[in-house]
């Protein structure tokens, strides 16, 4: 405690704090005085919970008999904070702390007012089984949610501040016993060297610390589900939680993680195997179907059955543009529709999809701008994209299929195959904090997430 017993110092410190915050109108500097008891409060009104302040600081001050009593009472409060430097105090004030000057001492109390601590229902990754509530936008609440699902003394929470200007708190959560040290260190050092003024969401972190300027596939997994967080903590992964963001990110994450839904752990064996199969089928369908259509109609119609060739040829009668433009045209419209339904208010989304999907699709074939078959293909592609459980991966897949479409447009089925091999090579070449991205786990879960040798 560097400020203790130096009267002039304490005065100066308080003065400095007030001056630093002065131009703001919501700064409050309030002296309390009764008989021979005196104290001074400094805080920012808009981030401090007034009622609580009244309840735990102001009221006891007037009720307690002497200054000694007040001091003893205040120092026993659980929300008292450490005092390290005046800069730190200044920062804490902006987060909702109160500075109390009592006798020759400055005391710091956290009496935050948080309006973002409502726990929301899952809406990014909804499931039928499993917990229905996700996270809130408040760090403390979120930590509570996670801790309440993972009762283990080795669960460690470290906090740090990121964002040169916004100074958001970030919690690094891991299970000391299982975490991979290398991964943890790498994440910490990258977070420390992060040089960004404002960090708003946890997904932004994943973009900043993935070592690549331009990346396509995510190497950290975003999730809002507490069960997924706990599942991954138990597997020895590191979870990053940013204050003000309702999603966490989990690292390291490899390709198969993104294809897993939490329900895979809850359902019956064959049921979950089937839904997993569907998901991978959806992955392939959404990746290759547009390219396959172009390859089959414009380069290699002999590969499929003659009936199919004739039926495609029949449905393309009168379509003015080559097949790849037709596919691109419909795909882009589908993407626009998807984008629109994300951005639109929920009430309008239904209308937009109906108008866009049904009317546009039918009208496009009626007007012979697109063949019937392409409508089926675009529909199948659109649906199967959403089968991929983690959003970021499905967005990445969404982009990748245009690369495959390009490859198929240039060289037919051969190009499509080459493009797929290329994508495979790209994905296999990546790693997530030292873990190979495309590693196939053939061992049992226990063997893969072994306890750290100590």
């Amino acid at each position: 405690m560097p400020f203790k017993n130096r009267k002039s110092d304490v005065e100066v410190e308080l003065e400095w704090l007030i001056n630093e915050l002065k131009p703001s109108s919501d700064i409050l500097h309030k002296p309390l005085r009764l008989d021979d008891k005196q104290a001074e409060l400094v805080y920012i009104k808009s981030v401090v919970d007034g009622a609580q302040l009244q309840q735990i600081v102001i009221k006891p001050f007037f009720e307690l008999a002497s200054e000694q009593h007040v001091e003893a009472y205040l120092k026993s409060l659980p929300n008292q904070q450490e005092f390290t430097s005046k800069e730190q105090v200044l920062l804490e004030l902006t987060k909702g702390s109160v500075v109390v000057k009592l006798k020759d001492e400055l005391l710091l109390f956290e009496i935050k007012k948080v309006n973002t601590d409502t726990v929301r229902e899952t809406n990014i990754e909804p499931t039928i089984m499993g917990p229905q509530y996700a996270l809130s936008e408040d760090l403390a609440t979120n930590l509570n949610l996670i801790r309440q699902r993972y009762h283990k003394p080795s669960l460690t929470v470290e906090t740090m501040e990121i964002g040169k200007k916004s100074n958001q708190s970030l919690a690094i959560i891991y299970d000391e016993e299982y975490v991979l040290d290398g991964v943890l260190e790498q994440i910490k050092s990258q977070l420390e060297s992060l040089d960004e003024p404002v960090v708003q969401t946890s997904t932004q972190i994943q973009r900043f610390i993935n070592n690549q300027k331009r990346s396509l596939i995510p190497i950290m997994m975003m999730t809002e589900r507490t069960d997924r967080v706990v599942y991954n903590l138990a597997g020895g992964k590191v979870v990053l939680l940013l204050d003000g963001s309702p999603t966490t990110i989990i690292a390291p994450a490899i390709f198969w993680d993104f294809m897993t839904s939490m329900e895979d752990n809850y359902g019956m064996y064959w049921v979950t195997k089937f839904s997993k199969f569907l998901r991978y089928l959806g992955l392939f369908v959404s990746l290759i179907l547009p390219g396959l259509y172009v390859a089959a109609t414009s380069f290699n119609p002999e590969v499929f059955r003659v009936e199919l060739a004739l039926s495609i040829a029949g449905s393309r009668i009168g379509v003015p543009y080559p097949s790849f433009i037709e596919v691109l045209f419909m795909l882009i419209f589908m993407e626009l529709l998807t984008e629109a339904s994300i951005r639109l208010p929920k009430a309008v989304t239904g209308t937009a999809t109906t108008v866009g999907g049904l009317i546009l699709g039918t009208a496009a074939t009626e007007a012979a701008l697109a063949s019937n078959i392409i409508i089926i293909i675009v529909g199948a592609v659109a649906i199967s994209t959403f089968v991929i459980p983690i959003n970021e991966m499905s967005f990445a897949i969404r982009f990748m299929r245009y690369l495959l479409l390009l490859a198929a447009t240039l060289a037919g089925l051969a190009g499509l195959t080459l493009g797929l091999i290329g994508l495979l090579m790209y994905v296999a070449n990546r790693d997530s904090f030292g873990e190979p991205y495309f590693k196939i786990f053939f061992k049992k879960k226990q063997a893969e997430t072994r306890v750290k040798p100590s």
């Binding site: 089959a296 109609t297 414009s298 119609p301 060739a309 393309r316 080559p322």
Partner: protein, 373 residues
């Protein structure tokens, strides 16, 4: 900064090149509606030796809705001195690119068989867009008439000739299936002779019958098999496992439907004078038809009677092959392949084959009388 601009410029340049590639309509990029699919190819012989080949292409013309109006067919015909010149001329008769990718049936007119088969086939083998799994057949009275026949059972969008051969549609012991790759092997290799189904159509062109086969031997001599012989050939070559036998006993006549069968043969040449071709037949079936009441206790007897009949049928056909000097089952090939090469195995076999005797062992098993007693 300049470096950054340069790198960005490079990417932009690359991207614009790729984008430009898209507008180049090369020969590879032909949309499906700019192609017209050849479904079957017929080759007939003209009497004019100057232009001996008459090429007929059956083309499918897709219509907007396959379900309602079906696929219409159109035909292109050209006489020429070679197949490729004929095709080249035929190309000018349509506004679309001829696509041979789906040309899965090749029909030769009977008259063309007097020509060297190697010569006719060469074109089909060389062209990369004609698939080697195409079916080969003989058209009667001519390839053109067969191609132009439109059976009434032919449905929209599905070509009747394909259904005959690809085992998805009709399956019959009377249909010999000959693939182009196998046909080529049989034509070029010695020791095995090409065999093709005979496709015949009547005058109204409302029906195509495929129930006979034709063998061409090395000397371009043709032997036509009748229906029974065709069925026996299919059984012996393991082409088709089913076979119906009409058993004529003293007291009872019945028909056995064989549904599983396996035929193996060995060639034993212990003495040069008398090579023996041993054929083992395993067949399992049920009684399908009988003129008297059947008794399940006598299944053993029925089986023996059936075995005897099958043996008789097979031996007859084998002797006919031998007499005519044709070898569609590949006895010569087997002889060559199971003996050390001395460069004259073929000649040896030519001498041995006419002298060979056949030993057919039939083990027919009738599982049931086919009725519940």
């Amino acid at each position: 900064m300049i470096k950054k601009v340069q790198r960005f410029g490079k990417t932009l340049l690359l991207l614009s090149f790729v984008a430009m590639l898209l507008i180049q309509s090369g020969c590879g990029f032909k949309d499906i509606d700019k192609r017209i699919f050849v479904l079957s190819i017929g080759v007939d012989h003209t009497d004019n030796e100057e232009t001996p080949y008459r090429v007929i292409l059956k083309l499918a013309v897709p219509s907007g809705s396959v379900k309602q109006s079906g696929t219409e067919y159109t035909y292109l015909t050209k006489e020429s001195e070679s197949l490729s010149t004929a095709i080249r001329h035929l190309k000018t008769q349509t506004d679309k690119e001829l696509d041979f990718g789906h040309a899965k049936v090749i029909v030769f007119g009977e008259g063309i068989l007097h020509h060297e088969l190697k010569e006719i086939m060469d074109f089909f083998i060389r062209r990369r867009d004609i698939q080697m799994v195409s079916y080969v057949g003989i058209g009667k009275p001519s390839a053109e008439k067969v191609l132009k026949a439109e059976p009434e059972s032919e449905m929209a969008g599905s070509h009747a000739l394909f259904n005959f051969f690809d085992q998805n549609g009709v399956e019959s012991q009377l249909i010999v299936t000959s693939y182009l790759f196998d046909f080529r092997r049989r034509v070029f290799g010695n020791g095995i002779d090409p065999i093709m189904p005979v496709l015949s159509t009547n005058e109204e062109k409302k029906r195509i019958d495929i129930n006979k086969a034709l063998i061409v031997n090395d000397e371009n001599k043709t032997v036509e098999l009748n229906q029974k012989q065709t069925a026996v050939y299919n059984l012996m070559s393991n082409n088709f496992e089913r076979y119906d036998v009409r058993v004529k006993n003293d007291d009872q006549n019945f028909t056995v439907a064989i549904d599983t069968s396996e035929v193996n043969f060995q060639i034993q040449v212990d003495s040069k004078q008398q090579p023996i071709i041993k054929m083992d037949v395993e067949a399992v079936g049920i009684i399908q038809e009988s003129d008297r009441e059947t008794d399940f206790r006598k299944l053993q007897d029925y089986s023996e009677a059936a075995s005897k009949t099958i043996k008789k049928d097979l031996t007859e056909v084998l002797k006919m092959f031998q007499k005519e000097g044709v070898d569609p089952l590949g006895f010569g090939l087997r002889y060559k392949s199971t003996r050390l090469n001395n460069n004259k195995r073929n000649e040896e076999w030519q001498e041995l084959y006419p002298k060979a005797t056949f030993e057919v062992n039939v083990n027919a098993l009738i599982k049931s009388t086919g009725v519940i007693e």
